[in-house]
């Protein structure tokens, strides 16, 4: 049953995931964290961090990780969990495969028509909103702690947030290097 649910969920993510890796984030987050509780918010954030540091698209990475974790948390062994990984990844890729083949076969000439273009005109601003939602949803106690519960960690977290936004946004520091700095800061200040 959980295999079917994994397959359907990641097929949907593949089918409706507009706007590339980051655009897909809120969809992946909504499905895996909010709707199915396969991952916690901090686990999801960790996957995003790991995806930044390892090669490969974030969509594939989260499908693989999620497929494994969901099955493993349901009490199955390593081998069955690997099958879960494969199921989720296959389900994510399948809509792309079908859609791109269909477009190559017959819809290439329709891609520039006003009708298709107007649909994309509607999607573009919405994808910005999707990404904003992903950011807002990740700004929670699991990732930042709270001023009451742990004021020290909350303060450091906010400082790291601002520093990373400034570092990658204005100073154009490589995101991977920025993650390494943050890890070092965490080790020094939040141990």
């Amino acid at each position: 049953m959980i295999f079917v649910s994994l397959f359907i969920t990641f097929f949907e993510i593949g089918l409706f995931g507009f706007g590339g890796g980051y655009g897909m984030l809120s969809l992946i987050q909504h499905e895996t964290v909010e709707a199915h509780h396969w991952l916690s918010t901090s686990e999801f954030t960790d996957i995003v961090a790991i995806s930044q540091m390892t090669p490969g698209p974030i969509g594939i990475n989260s499908a693989t990780y999620c497929g494994y974790t969901a099955i493993h948390n349901a009490g199955y062994g390593h081998l069955v969990s690997i099958l879960g990984s494969a199921t989720a990844t296959f389900a994510l890729v399948l809509p792309s495969l079908i859609l791109m083949i269909l477009i190559s076969k017959m819809f290439m000439k329709y891609m520039n028509t006003p009708l298709v273009q107007s649909i994309f005109t509607g999607l573009r601003p919405a994808v910005v909103g999707l990404l904003a939602a992903a950011t807002l949803l990740l700004c929670n106690t699991e990732n930042f702690s709270t001023p009451i519960e742990n004021p020290w960690q909350f303060g450091i977290s906010c400082a790291l947030f601002v520093a990373t936004a400034f570092g990658t946004g204005y100073l154009k520091i490589n995101p991977i290097r920025m993650i390494c700095y943050a890890a070092f800061a965490g080790l020094l200040l939040l141990y």
């Binding site: 980051y22 961090a49 009708l115 910005v128």
Partner: protein, 175 residues
Amino acid sequence: MNIYWDSFKTFFHIGIFTLGGGYAMIPLIEEEVVNKKKWVTKDDMLDLIAIAQSCPGVFAINIATFIGYKLRKTRGAICTTLGTALPSFLIILAIAMFFSQFKDNKVVAAMFRGIRPAVVALIAVPTFRLGQRAKLNRYTIWIPIACALAIWALGVSPIYIIMIAAVGGYIYGRL
């Protein structure tokens, strides 16, 4: 060399060496597929990138499928898609299998407490960049705000937002 094996290998290679997601792989794909192997022309490549960007799904997979299909129809598409997905699949699988053992390690836990807020910032920054690229103005700025609030505050599924936006764009185009 067998073209299926060759295309699989080329995209496997591209899959291994792309850090930082889909768009970072465009120059690598161009070098391998356009300049070295000459599987597609430069102009075709620009069209493929434009379509792969606007379609749903993982960008890298979309591009790989296109090129594979151009080479050897459906079987070619399967080869290139497999090649692109396999490196990340194997790497993340290894991490998923062993990360849970390290997660509770005090050093690793402290590092990830520092990494998490940084990652949130890494997602916040492209939000603004994407907003600029979408050419938002004061008549359209409410659309992303409304979408974000619907998802964040009301818990609406992003799938519905996508559907409504597509229909909205279609209706707007007919006015």
